[in-house]
Symmetry: C4
Subunit: 247 residues, 4 copies
């Protein structure tokens, strides 16, 4: 295997597609959002990407192994073509992040991608009441467009944007591909479907489509239930509460 | 030295050989199992593999140094040829795991290997009563065959398979070599000859041969004696036990 | 992107320029000093340097992303041309330090740089009263010149000079570029504008120019105020002090 | 700079030279022993080796910087030519150890080296009374010769030999250069000139020369004085001892 190995799984002719990236990150916000698109719309797996920069491992499901990879799906969303990038891994080393992103951008270019949206989370360190989404872009024009749909803050995210999401903007700009990042606020402690829903909400208005988020909301409610239980356990049962506590 | 250096030690014509990998890992299960084959059958050292991805060291025995390496032995087992891969090291870095496995697969291909079995352990975190073996494969046909001889679980091993064993499946599949992994349950705390014996038991039925495991059982009994002593020490001597305790 | 990507931002004809390096380091002394030159004199951004050895991230300001980079500015200081190197990052790995410095020296050479000054801090481990500056050079002639303006100590800095500053001297010498390092003493615990002012003071006498350091002094006073408050908090309020303590 | 940069400092015609390696390691035994040869005999610096695998730093002495390097000196010892390798650094990464040793062996080969002796220490974990030296070799003939002058133990050093010393044997063997390692027992806690003297003692009998070790003994006595003081401080003063304790 070479440093990168892009497996051609299926052909696809995409009309002016938009790249949507949702690799693992804070609260798995981007991953949840991107995978939700694959569940709700017709998605065709078109490419798999393997790399020696991924962890040296296979996952196993029902006894069948699968080498660590990322996947590109072609998705048609109300007449608009998306190229959705998902997976379970980021690169494991510094240079690997740069080279991986560059290779993924090559694939995007091959499909004629003209714009990219990196989806992710921004950690706040506390539980979220209102799920704000923050935007950033590598390009003035795209940033201006973004400002109509999403909050752009003076100095956030404070630590910048790291990993593939950040480099999609940085390396995208170096090769003339306008790219934006939509970051849902999230505590940073939990997988956060609510934040993913908020990010999808912004993506809907920016790209002009609608997606059913009920399954994401169900998952969010399950997570909230978990959070509630943890909070209750931390506070201890209230006096009139103790008989109903277990369960 | 290049990144990899494969030393040609002896020629060997193998008929439709099966690759058996037993490099160090959890409980040294795979290593014990593979080395047991070398002890019980006629084995010819055919290749040594050196690499800058191994630790920078030599071992010393009776004053004679030996550079860190892995070894391929040709082994004839009841009319069937095996190519057995053993050694004291895995790669020390991420990309090294990928490149090492790829290089080892090149050697296997050179010998005409058509199938590979990676032997290893899967940690359970507690002492084992019954030594189950779990199977996984990179290929549907091989997996179906495996199911006749070994348990295949829905979602195990949970963390996937890492290192050379995992990549033998993952990279094997990328080059069209069907590969399976036989993982003996083991506590993860001790070198585990009993788990190795269980793995060999499955390998015997899959490949159709028989191997004397008495030396492995002796070693297992020695280990069990050690475990018993440790458990006794942890629990403290029982009242009627204390005179016999020391020794 | 290649391992390094030098972006040509603007042309500049520099007469016998001196390279001034101020990348992040102890007390951010070199960075503060070099950036102060950019603030006080006319500075033209001429090159940006990107590298896979930098952290995989973009910074975001007002929603606009910028890929991790270092910058070269052409600065005219009283008839003398400087090429000032600043940025927020050093390389993240060992070989990266060597390769980055070599690449930056290529850029300097392209501009005809004949001499280099690396600016930095040397940690003393305690708060500084008098801000001494220590000098070192890769070249006997430059060192002799330096001795007229700055203290050269027998065995300091004890740990040598690490990172780009150190390698500017080491690799500069290998390619025949005389280079010196001016290191301001600093506690090592705080960003230290006073140490940066001291370093600039030496640079002024060595290169023969004058720079207004009032903004740096303001910043130093702010930092001293912070230090005073921290010291007060550590010692606790004195008896007749406690009414005025808060605030 | 390339990955390695071998600076040609002086020409030297060596007759059938022996390579002596003394880079930093346990107790700095090898380094002390090799540097002692440079002090006691006429030594000509012939090559310096720089590498991106060394730490990214310069040392500074009297204000003059020197890039991290290793040095080869040609030394004539009673009619016998030695090529002595010393320095302050080993490689900082795994592959770097392999590549550095290979490059250093290229230099040795260029000088016609036919045999190599790596000098080092083997840690015992306790203060040493009698300074034994253990030998190991990559080659049966050299090992047999070694047995006449130095102890060869069944299974020591238990952890093998790591770093450049180990790879001199391992990679030396791969290219047909017989190499031995002489390891002085040392506590592992202190720089140990006594162990270095013991190693030199063996080297004298193996190579047939004599070296004045009085300066090494002085240094050893200084170290022993330090050790004595530390031991006294740990035990506390004895009753009739306390008036003489300070000083």
């Amino acid at each position: 295997m070479e440093e990168f190995d892009i497996e051609h799984v299926a052909d696809a002719e995409l009309r002016d597609p938009v790249l949507i990236e949702g690799l693992p990150g804070v609260g798995h916000v981007g991953k949840l959002a991107a995978e939700h698109l694959l569940e709700e719309f017709d998605a065709t797996l078109v490419r798999r990407g393997y790399s020696e920069h991924f962890p040296p491992q296979v996952t196993v499901e029902e006894g069948r192994s699968e080498l660590a990879c990322v996947e590109f799906h072609a998705v048609e969303v109300e007449g608009r073509d998306l190229l959705v990038l998902t997976g379970d891994h980021q690169a494991q080393d510094n240079a690997g992040h740069y080279r991986l992103t560059d290779t993924l951008l090559d694939v995007a270019e091959e499909f004629g991608v003209q714009r990219a949206f990196a989806l992710g989370g921004v950690p706040t360190g506390e539980l979220i009441e209102e799920y704000d989404v923050i935007g950033a872009a590598s390009d003035g024009e795209l940033l201006a467009e973004l400002r109509e749909h999403v909050e752009v803050r003076e100095d956030e995210p404070a630590g910048g944007i790291v990993g593939v999401s950040g480099l999609l903007l940085g390396l995208g700009e170096r090769r003339g591909l306008p790219a934006a990042c939509l970051m849902g606020e999230t505590s940073g402690y939990l997988v956060d479907p609510k934040s993913a829903r908020a990010v999808l909400g912004v993506l809907e208005t920016v790209l002009g489509f609608e997606v059913d988020v009920s399954s994401l909301e169900e998952r969010a409610e399950e997570m909230e239930e978990v959070v509630r239980k943890i909070q209750e356990m931390e506070q201890g049962p209230s006096p009139d509460d103790d008989l109903r506590y277990i369960g």
